[in-house]
Amino acid sequence: MRKNRRRRNTQTQSIFPIKIDKLEKLLKDKFEKNPDLIFSTFEIGGKNVCVFYLSYQVKTERLDNFLLKPLLNISDLSTPNILNEIPIGGGSTTDTFEEILEDLLIGNVFVYVEDEDKAVFYLIVRKESRDISKSENESVVLGPQIAFSESLITNLNVVRWSIRSTDLVLEKIMIGKRAKTEVRIIYMKSIVNDKHINTMRQRLQDLDLDKVDDSHVLSQLIEDSSSTIFPQYYLTELVDRFSYTVSQGRIGVLVENNPQAILAPSTIFSFLESTEDMYMRWNAGSFLRILRFIAMFISFILTPLYVAAVTYHYELIPPRELITIGQSRAIVPFPPIIEALFLEFLIELLREAGARLPSKVGQTIGIVGGVIIGQAVVQAGLTSSILIIVIAFSALASFTAPSYEMGTTVRVIRFPMILLAGMFGLIGIMYGLCFLVIHVLKLKSLGEPYLSPIYPFRWDDLNKVLFRPPYAYQDKRFLSLRPKDLFRFKKSEAVKKHDIDE
């Protein structure tokens, strides 16, 4: 990309050679009312030299010690000589005004000797970022805790360290017309399916917008279907998850100034698997994964079932529960659907309030909400105590999703399901389920079916999504992604069995 642009720009008119006064005027015009442009002129060996940069984008100490000091000692000032004598690597030259402007912004220092036909510049960037820290939003118990930070450089550094391979490609794309943002497409070139790379590159390059705000926004800009509620790309801040996914043959996208990486293509199962499943022993890992599937199902089926049973199908309730449910319902003045919506709404309020408030206050809200309000609501006779349990159960279940977005999706889906159950009972619930299945079948993530490998059905991939077998049996990468290299190792050797006492 960069090369292309340079080639294009060399064809435009060069502004050099130019007098230093004139150059200063040009620059000051561009940075009008911007006091930060430092433009200093020196006279060295009879030649006028100017050095200009943006003050806070540059490390002043380095500038003084390694650029200005040696510069003053150079006897014969010419562009090649400067490049030779200054003890900073990565110096280059330019002759167009546009490029000067662009490079000034990202912390380059320019040196121009009057009447030369090129300006020399060095990257002495100063970029502030917070230290990398523990992941806040995706918490894991086992495994590396390190999370991406806002700095792209740091992130790239971390990624390189976690996948030490020349196979790893970190392709650079600049996005944004008015304000450019650097985006990196990261993949393993000997594994990844070229179709995916091309699609992703195409989608990123075709974006026509002023500025990318955030990786979430970017992921929504490049997704396949924008009308759905399901997230189509997994956004992670966990480095281990990122490197695992990329090494499996998927694509990761890092966005400048964003701690969240986009993983593509993602299936519905990506949102339900946690890296922890890998770190656990295979049986415990499988258990946790299946637990999560059940939790998701429960979280959007349980409250609707309660509403349907209590509104229409009292026959469904076993006799023993009938009395408890009936008695707790008797004091409630609303129909079950209002009761359920009210309580769901309350839970969502608590969650939202807990998320928005500063973390210290947030905890208080949790306690206040969970204990006091719950108690009071039941005592006031606004909801039945059974429903409190049902709703708490399904809310808890929805929080088990490793992806916060998927958890939110499931919680939102619950509301139309409750409405359907309140309108048509079991038939309504079944309608909702059928609709969801059809909807999910229609979805795609980077052109790959969202439900893969369930549909299109790939037997070989089931062991990676539905449960987790011992590592000796995970000899293949995702067949449904059609990677260039399918096999990770030879299974026959991994599972070779010895006879007794051999």
């Binding site: 229409y312 199908h313 026959e315 469904l316 309730i317 076993p318 006799p319 529960e321 048509f424 009972g425 079991l426 038939i427 619930i429 079944m430 309608y431 389920l433 059928c434 609709f435 299945v437 059809i438 909807h439 079948l441 229609k442 079916p449 439900l451 369930i454 549909y455 299109p456 059905f457």
Partner: protein, 371 residues
């Protein structure tokens, strides 16, 4: 109209899915009521009737494959035009589509009827009709791939119902089957014919064949699909005969659903409600495939966009559903579809087959002469 439609590579499906297509379109609402109809004819030897019917179905599928193999990549519409000429071929094709539409209507009406009997006696047919048809439209909009996906997933999400049959199965009385072999051969054949409605549907093979990617391995899934639905019908009928006494069964309209009435688990008292709701997942693939067949057929013959036919057909169906809520009308419609289906599905291929063979031989002769 081209006889061998060219299907884009990305629209093709693996032959493996044919199993699910055949099973899903055969097992729909028919199986719920089949035991009564079969039992009325063949009494305790109904299971023999079902086996006879199954063998016959295999024969029909075999003939269908033979017909299709004569062409490069044709479906029934193309073949009919090729054999009978443009006019007669199109008329026959249209009749085929009308048959599909009637079958679709009867499936929807039967399911609505079941919901009304078992869950909501007072609900209006139109509401369930709208619910079902909105799902059908939404699904068909996704194209054939999504349709097959729905068929595939609903196949698995409905089969757990089989486990619930354990309870009635252990209450079966073996002496309801004894003495064996009492029904005369004509009675057995009549019983076999009573399965026509529940076994029908595999004629979709004649439409979907061009879409299959690896045609050479399409046979096994098709036969196995028929075997699977045969197995389900057999299980349903055998358990019904063993569980209900003869007099009861002869008057029991939805015998298979009634089997679930005694199933109860600690957390759900009455499973029949859940089963009736869950049956939507059994009936829906059936409806979707039929609707696809209608819209695709019209597109093939008259070049009308599928979206247009989809909405027009849905609208007409909704109107019919609104007016045909009487139970007797539904029964009569189902009978009619079963009768017509018998000729269209079970007899017609045997008439078509020799004609296709003759025509092909004649063509080959002609070719060699011109050479």
């Amino acid at each position: 109209m081209e006889i061998n439609p060219k299907i884009k590579e990305n629209l093709r499906i693996r032959a493996f899915y044919l199993f699910f297509i055949i099973t899903s379109i055969q097992v729909g609402v028919g199986i719920m009521g089949a035991p009564m109809y079969i039992f009325t004819e063949a009494e305790q030897d109904s299971w023999l009737s079902i086996i006879i019917a199954f063998v016959y179905v295999l024969l029909v599928i075999f003939v269908m494959f033979r017909i299709l193999e004569q062409y490069e990549n044709a479906d029934i519409f193309g073949i009919q035009v090729d054999i009978f000429g443009k006019w007669l071929g199109k008329i026959l094709g249209t009749l085929y589509i009308i048959y599909f539409a009637a079958a679709l209507l009867s499936v929807i009406l039967t399911y609505i009827d079941v919901v009304k009997v078992f869950i909501f006696p007072e609900i209006s047919s139109l509401i369930i009709g709208v619910l079902l048809i909105s799902l059908i439209i939404y699904c068909i909009y996704g194209g054939l791939k999504v349709i097959i996906g729905v068929v595939f997933i609903f196949f698995f999400s409905a089969h757990w119902l089989l486990f619930l049959l354990y309870e009635p199965a252990i209450r079966m009385e073996l002496d309801h089957f004894q003495p064996f072999f009492q029904a005369s051969f004509p009675e057995l054949l009549k019983g076999a014919r009573a399965t026509a409605y529940s076994f029908a549907g595999f004629e979709i093979l004649l439409l979907i064949y061009p879409f299959i990617q690896n045609k050479e391995s399409a046979k096994f899934p098709a036969y196995f699909g028929a075997f699977w639905s045969f197995g389900l019908l057999l299980i349903g009928t055998v358990i019904s005969i063993g569980y209900f006494s003869a007099v009861q069964l002869k008057e029991l309209e939805w015998a298979v659903l009634s089997l679930f009435k005694i199933v109860s688990l600690p957390f759900v008292e009455r499973f029949d409600y859940i089963v009736v709701a869950e049956w939507m997942m059994v009936a829906l693939p059936n409806m979707i495939l039929l609707m696809w067949a209608i819209t695709y057929g019209i597109k093939r013959m008259y070049k009308v966009p599928q979206t247009k036919t989809l909405f027009i057909t849905s609208f007409i169906l909704l109107i019919l559903i609104a007016f045909m809520s009487n139970h007797n009308i539904i029964i009569r419609l189902t009978d009619l579809v079963a009768k017509v289906g018998f000729w269209v599905v079970y007899v017609y291929p045997f008439i078509l087959f020799p004609i296709v063979l003759l025509k092909k031989r004649w063509q080959r002769k002609k070719e060699s002469e011109t050479r």
